[in-house]
């Protein structure tokens, strides 16, 4: 089974409001897949549909070869999910929350949990209500990883984590992925995607606008053009035959021009803004 996640034509509306429209993408076994988009782009709606938190109107979702609707409970046994908010029961101790998550799974994860708590420096004796966002996120990471799932789904995981813990977090992901796990990383922190992901999908206004390897997204056919000609300065993305661009420019008095591969940030901003692109 190559596709750990297969989403086809997923559509979900919240009443009259848009959720996601006709979203389709695959995530392959063993890859770290970046899921990028600004707030409200539909990333969380897609993830919540995958996990059975919300019902979608049309399309299909298969996770680990199983139907996300009819085999939802079975899927969750093999999934480790970290929500963006990382909220738990305030009166519980950290150790109780971690054990509770393992108990509901019917597993004894104490060894792995202890290892993760040590790596992430989680104080298990404290009550949840005493924890900062960053410390709650660390508890959430332990709960998502302690059962060594086949698929990780992280929704904005690094917000609130200090840089050292962020490094440990990505080291852990890579270790699990090297052991055969797959990871979907939903984020709007582009350097994380560039540094850690194999492929990525870009969402905008509920639609999936691009899926490719991170390498291809950066070194795509689209070029970032910065031009000063005829006393006017323009910046735009150009995709197509570069000779057409040269022909177009030949009639102009060019004072300065730069043609570059766009950064991931430029690509993202370009798609985010629905930016001007010449073909």
């Amino acid at each position: 089974m190559d596709n750990v996640i297969r989403i086809q034509n997923l559509t979900k509306h919240y009443g009259k409001k848009r959720g996601v429209e006709d979203v389709s993408f695959d995530v392959n076994k063993g890859e770290i897949f970046g899921f990028i988009g600004p707030n409200g782009a539909g990333k969380s709606t897609t993830i919540r549909s995958m996990l059975g938190f919300i019902r979608f109107e049309s399309g299909s979702i298969k996770i680990l070869g199983m139907n996300a609707v009819s085999e939802h409970e079975k899927i969750l046994k093999s999934v480790g999910y970290m929500p963006s908010e990382a909220l738990f029961y305030p009166a519980m101790k950290v150790s109780d929350v971690i054990k509770y998550a393992a108990d509901v799974r019917g597993m004894d994860c104490s060894d792995e949990a202890a290892k993760l708590c040590e790596r992430l420096q989680v104080d298990t004796s404290r009550k949840i209500r005493e924890l900062s966002l960053g410390n709650r996120k660390k508890v959430s990471i332990v709960c998502a990883m302690q059962h060594k799932p086949e698929l990780f789904i992280f929704d904005e995981p690094t917000g609130g984590l200090d840089p050292l813990v962020q490094n440990t977090f990505f080291e852990l992901i890579k270790e699990y992925v090297n052991e055969g796990a797959t990871c979907l990383l939903s984020t709007h922190i582009l350097p994380e995607v560039r540094k850690h992901c194999d492929r990525a999908a870009i969402m905008r206004e509920g639609r999936l606008i691009k899926t490719d390897t991170v390498e291809n997204l950066i070194h795509s056919a689209a070029k970032y053009i910065k031009l000063t000609a005829d006393g006017k300065t323009e910046e735009y993305m150009f995709s197509g035959d570069i000779n057409d661009l040269i022909r177009e420019l030949s009639g102009k008095h060019i004072e300065n021009i730069s043609i570059e591969d766009p950064s991931l940030e430029d690509m993202f901003m370009h798609f985010y803004e629905g930016g001007k692109e010449r073909v």
């Binding site: 919540r48 996990l51 938190f53 919300i54 969750l76 929500p83 909220l87 029961y89 998550a101």
Partner: protein, 263 residues
Amino acid sequence: MTAIIKQELKLNLKSMLIWALTVGGLGFICILMYTSMEGEVMEMADSFSQMGAFSDAFGMSTLSIATIAGFFATEVGTVHGLGSAMFAAFFASSMLSKEEDGHTGEFLFSLPVSRGKVIAAKGMAILTHLVLFTLICGIFYVMGFAALGEEVPGEEMARFLSCMLLMNVEIAALSYLVSATSSKTRMGLALGISLIIYTYDILGRVVPSMKDYLFIGPFSYANASEIFAHIDAPDHSFVTSVLVTVLATICTFAAYTRKDLAS
């Protein structure tokens, strides 16, 4: 599922104990007040029993409040009836919705457990706490009788507490449905339902034309005065109660398993 039941029992234990100690303690104090009020109660008993509809409504026409059993049924019966109904409503109305209110739903529902199992597990926790609440209150009432050196009317007491428990289960089932469906003012709505049910029973006993429809409300079979006076509950009242409980539970399952989890 066992883990969720244990978790809910543990999380709500303190709240249940506070309610049980309050309601049971109030009942205990009421029982102790009987000796100090015995003289006045004797004088009041006759006039209280002849106040027509008012006496009917509060059960004073069926049982003399001059006796300890009558005093218990009219005074503690009302305290326990209202107190336990409000506890059941308060407790059940937040059981499902608290996951969304506290944004813990994403954590709970990312674990391999279906919504149906969550509903069942939390429902079992509610039932267990209602049983414990009733037992604790029962212990207080028995202690009250013992403190006065009075013999506990065992059979009547057991029937009274069982009927109250059944009534609480019905109110909890309705409140559980509120918890699964309503997005706002759940607790107010659930407490309102329990008070409306109580008021319906009072009105049903005062207004003659409503007497035939008393069986709809659970207070009809859980009326302490009638239980201690060995008066049978209205026909169909138990069946109606069970039907309402089952129907509310089915609706809870139907609504909650189809509901989008709030973000």
